[in-house]
C-alpha cells in the first residue's frame, strides 16, 4: 500500500479570541483608515439588519435574513473586491453586496418584495448578480462569469461567490467548484460556516471535519479561516482574489463563524438552538474583538470607534427613507410583471398585460 495523494488544510487566524494579533499581521491591519472603515461597515451591516428586522415586526418589511455575528465574513470578503470584479452573492451576503457598491436601500427593496431591488444602479455593480434564493445555484453562475472572463482573456478580474455551510450539501455547489478547478477559473468561493442551516447542524450535513475540505474533491486550493477575525478573512480572501486575477485559479475559503440571529424573520432559533452555545458564541463575536485590537494597536480610541458606530443608525435611517419612498411614492406598476419577461412580450400575452392594467385602475 502506497500513497496516491495527500492534502493539508491550512487554518488562518490573525487575531485570536483574545484579540491578540499573530506576528505576521498583514500591512492593512496597521492602516487606521482601512481598519476604521471595516469596523464602521460591519457596524453599518449590524445596524441595517437590526432595523430591517424591526421593520418586519411592524409589517414594513417581508422576510429578512440578518447576519448577526457574521459581519466579519461578508464585510471582510467584500472589502477585497474592485469594481472590475463580479460578485455573485447569496441571500445572507448583504455585507458583501454593500462592499461591492450595491445601495443598501436596494437590498431593502428586494426583501421588501420589490424586484427593483436587483436592478443595481451603481455602475460598479452592473454585472453583479442578484441574490440567489435557490441554494447553491449561484456557484454555477459564478463559474460561468469566471468562464467568460477566462475565455475572453480578461486579466485582473475575478468572481467572488458565497454560500452557507448547509448549502455545500447541494450538488450544484460541488459541480461549480469542480468546473472552476477543471478550467482553472478566476473564482473565489467563500463558505459562511455559521453553524446553522436554519435548524440543521453542520454534523447533520456532513461528516467532514471541515467544510474547506470539500474543495479537495474539486482539486482546488482550500483554506479555513476564523470567520470572526475580519483581518484574517480579508487577508485570505484578498490573496485568493489576487491569485485568481492573475490566472492562478480558484480557491475555496471556509470562514468559521456563528449565526447569532434567527435564520430569517420567519424563524425562531430558540426552538432548536442550545442557549449555552449561543451565549458562548456571543463572547466570540467579531466586532468586540476588532475593537479591542484597534484600541490596543493604537489605530483608534474607543471614543473614535463608538462615534463610528453611532453614525450607522442615521445612515441606515436614510436608506430606509429611500426604501419607503420607492414603495410609497414610486411603486412598481402592476404591468411591470410583464415588462421584463422577454425583450418583447409575446403577442399571446399582451391581452393579459392589458387586463392587469385595466383591473388596476
Amino acid at each position: 500500500m502506497s500513497t496516491a495523494a495527500s492534502f493539508e488544510i491550512p487554518y488562518v487566524q490573525l487575531l485570536n479570541e483574545e484579540a491578540k494579533p499573530a506576528n505576521d499581521l498583514p500591512e492593512f491591519a496597521r492602516d487606521a483608515e482601512i481598519m476604521k472603515k471595516l469596523y464602521k461597515d460591519m457596524h453599518f451591516l449590524r445596524a441595517m439588519d437590526t432595523k430591517a428586522i424591526s421593520m418586519q415586526r411592524i409589517g414594513r418589511m417581508r422576510t429578512y435574513p440578518g447576519a448577526l455575528g457574521q459581519e466579519a465574513v461578508s464585510v471582510g470578503a467584500g472589502s477585497c473586491l474592485t469594481k472590475d470584479d463580479v460578485l455573485v452573492p447569496y441571500y445572507r451576503g448583504t455585507g458583501t453586496m454593500i462592499q461591492k457598491g450595491v445601495e443598501p436601500h436596494e437590498i431593502l427593496l428586494y426583501w421588501g418584495g420589490d424586484e427593483r431591488g436587483s436592478d443595481f444602479k451603481n455602475p460598479n455593480c452592473k454585472e453583479d448578480f442578484p441574490i440567489a434564493v435557490p441554494i447553491a445555484t449561484q456557484i454555477l453562475h459564478a463559474a460561468g462569469v469566471a468562464s467568460a472572463m477566462k475565455l475572453r482573456g480578461q486579466k485582473g478580474r475575478a468572481v467572488l461567490t458565497e454560500i452557507g455551510e448547509g448549502g455545500t450539501s447541494e450538488g450544484e455547489f460541488y459541480e461549480g467548484i469542480n468546473v472552476a478547478g477543471a478550467w482553472n477559473l478566476p473564482m473565489v468561493c467563500v463558505i459562511n460556516n455559521n453553524h446553522w442551516a436554519i435548524s440543521v447542524r453542520p454534523d447533520e450535513q456532513t461528516s467532514c471535519e471541515t467544510f474547506a475540505q470539500k474543495g479537495i474533491a474539486a482539486g482546488i486550493e482550500v483554506v479555513q479561516v476564523d470567520g470572526n477575525d475580519v483581518i484574517a478573512v480579508r487577508e485570505v480572501v484578498g490573496k485568493a482574489l489576487d491569485k485568481a486575477r492573475n490566472g492562478g485559479g480558484p480557491t475555496l475559503v471556509e470562514a468559521v463563524t456563528y449565526r447569532l440571529c434567527d435564520h430569517t424573520t420567519a424563524d425562531d432559533a430558540s426552538r432548536y438552538h442550545d442557549q449555552e452555545t449561543h451565549d458562548k458564541a456571543w463572547e466570540n463575536e467579531p466586532l468586540k474583538r476588532l475593537k479591542a485590537y484597534m484600541v490596543n494597536a493604537g489605530l483608534a480610541t474607543e471614543e473614535d470607534l463608538d462615534a463610528l458606530q453611532a453614525m450607522c443608525k442615521g445612515e441606515v435611517d436614510k436608506e430606509v427613507e429611500i426604501y419607503f419612498d420607492y414603495l410609497e411614492n414610486k411603486p412598481q406598476k402592476p404591468e411591470a410583471m410583464f415588462d421584463y419577461l422577454y425583450e418583447t412580450l409575446p403577442e399571446k400575452t399582451v391581452p393579459q398585460r392589458e387586463e392587469v392594467i385595466r383591473r388596476a385602475k
Binding site: 418584495g113 420589490d114 442551516a197 440543521v200 426552538r271 410583464f338
Partner: protein, 326 residues
C-alpha cells in the same frame, strides 16, 4: 373530533400513519427539531424519534433519491420539500426514478412514497416561495398529484397518499394552511384519490378548481347564488391522473365551464381539463370554456403578488362571460 386547520390536519394524518405503520418515515430539511418551517411536522420527532423523523442534509435531489432507495426496501418514506420552488433539483429523480421504477422493473420494485410540499402564493413570501407548478408534475406518467383544499381533505387525502402503492406528490396550499378549521376525527379514514369532489351542486355553470383557489371559487359561487346563478363547484383534488367522469357529468348538466387556477395559464392543468372537455363533451358546451388563471409571467414578489392572484372578481367576470353566451 378535533377542530383543526389544514396544516394541523396534515400533522394529524402523518402522526396517525406513523403510529400505524412503522415503515412510514418523515424526512426533509428542518422537519425534525424544528418541526418544519410551517410546523407541519411539529412534535413528530419527539413522538417517533430521530430515526423516523429525520433532518436531512440540504439537498432535494438527495431527499428524493434516498426515498427511492428506501421505498425499494418496502419502506414508505414521506419526504418534505421545504417549498415547491425548491423541488427542481429533485426533478431528475422524480422523473427518472420515482415515477418509473415500477414500470422499469415490471413491478418488481415499487415506489410507495408521498412527497409533500407547501405550494402556491398569497403569503407575501420571498422569491421562489409562491409558485404553482403542479402542471409540470401532472404531465409525468407514473405519478399522482394530489392537492387538498381544506382540513378534512388534507387529512383524508394525505392518508390515502401514504397508503397508495404508488408515488404521490402531495401539494399543500400554504395560503390556506390556517385559513379555516374543520372538525376532523382522527379515525384513519382515507378519502379516495380517484375522484373529484363536488362541493356544491348547481346547473347553470360548472366551476372547476383545486387547492387554495377553491376558496375564491366557493366565494364566487356564493355571490352567484345571490344573483340566482346556481354554480356547480368541483374540487379536482387529484389533478393527475384526473377523474374526468365527474367533470363531464357536470358539463353535461350545465354546458358552461369556468376553470380557476393559480398557475400561469399556458400549458397548465386547466388546459388539460379544457382539452378533455373539448374532445369529449363539445356538444354539451353552450359557451366557450373560460380559464381564470394566473398570468403567463414569473410569479411576482410580494408587492405585486396581489395583481397576479386570481380574485373572486375575476372569477365572477369569467362566469358572466360564459353566462352571457346564448
Amino acid at each position: 373530533m378535533a377542530l383543526v386547520t389544514l396544516i394541523e390536519a396534515v400533522t394529524m394524518a402523518l402522526a396517525h400513519e406513523m403510529e400505524k405503520d412503522t415503515d412510514v418515515v418523515v424526512m426533509g430539511e428542518d422537519v425534525g427539531k424544528n418541526g418544519g418551517v410551517f410546523r407541519a411536522t411539529e412534535g413528530l420527532q419527539k413522538k417517533f424519534g430521530e430515526e423516523r423523523v429525520i433532518d436531512t442534509p440540504l439537498a432535494e435531489a438527495m431527499i428524493a433519491g434516498l426515498s427511492v432507495g428506501m421505498a425499494s426496501q418496502g419502506m414508505r418514506p414521506v419526504p418534505e420539500i421545504q417549498f415547491m420552488g425548491f423541488v427542481f433539483p429533485a426533478v431528475n429523480q422524480i422523473m427518472t426514478a420515482v415515477a418509473r421504477m415500477r414500470n422499469r422493473t415490471r413491478g418488481r420494485l415499487t415506489m410507495p412514497m408521498t412527497i409533500r410540499m407547501p405550494y402556491g402564493g398569497g403569503i407575501h413570501a420571498p422569491e421562489h416561495h409562491s409558485e404553482s407548478t403542479e402542471a409540470l408534475f401532472a404531465h409525468i406518467p407514473g405519478l399522482k398529484v394530489v392537492i387538498p383544499s381544506n382540513p378534512s381533505r388534507a387529512y383524508g387525502l394525505l392518508l390515502a397518499a401514504m397508503r397508495d402503492p404508488d408515488p404521490v406528490l402531495f401539494l399543500e396550499p400554504k395560503r390556506i394552511y390556517r385559513a379555516v378549521k374543520h372538525e376532523v376525527e382522527d379515525n384513519g379514514e382515507a378519502y379516495p384519490l380517484e375522484t373529484c369532489f363536488v362541493d356544491q351542486e348547481g346547473d347553470d355553470v360548472t366551476l372547476i378548481s383545486w387547492g387554495a383557489m377553491m376558496y375564491e371559487t366557493l366565494q364566487a359561487a356564493e355571490k352567484l347564488a345571490a344573483e340566482g346563478i346556481n354554480a356547480e363547484v368541483i374540487d379536482v383534488a387529484t389533478v393527475a391522473p384526473m377523474d374526468m367522469t365527474t367533470i363531464f357529468e357536470s358539463v353535461r348538466k350545465t354546458g358552461r365551464v369556468v376553470i380557476v387556477q393559480e398557475a400561469p395559464k399556458a400549458g397548465a392543468v386547466g388546459s388539460e381539463i379544457a382539452a378533455e372537455i373539448a374532445e369529449h363533451e363539445l356538444l354539451s358546451l353552450i359557451a366557450p370554456i373560460e380559464r381564470v388563471s394566473g398570468w403567463d409571467t414569473v410569479m411576482p414578489y410580494a408587492k405585486l403578488e396581489g395583481q397576479y392572484m386570481p380574485t373572486v372578481e375575476r372569477i365572477l367576470d369569467g362566469v358572466k362571460k360564459v353566462m352571457a353566451f346564448k
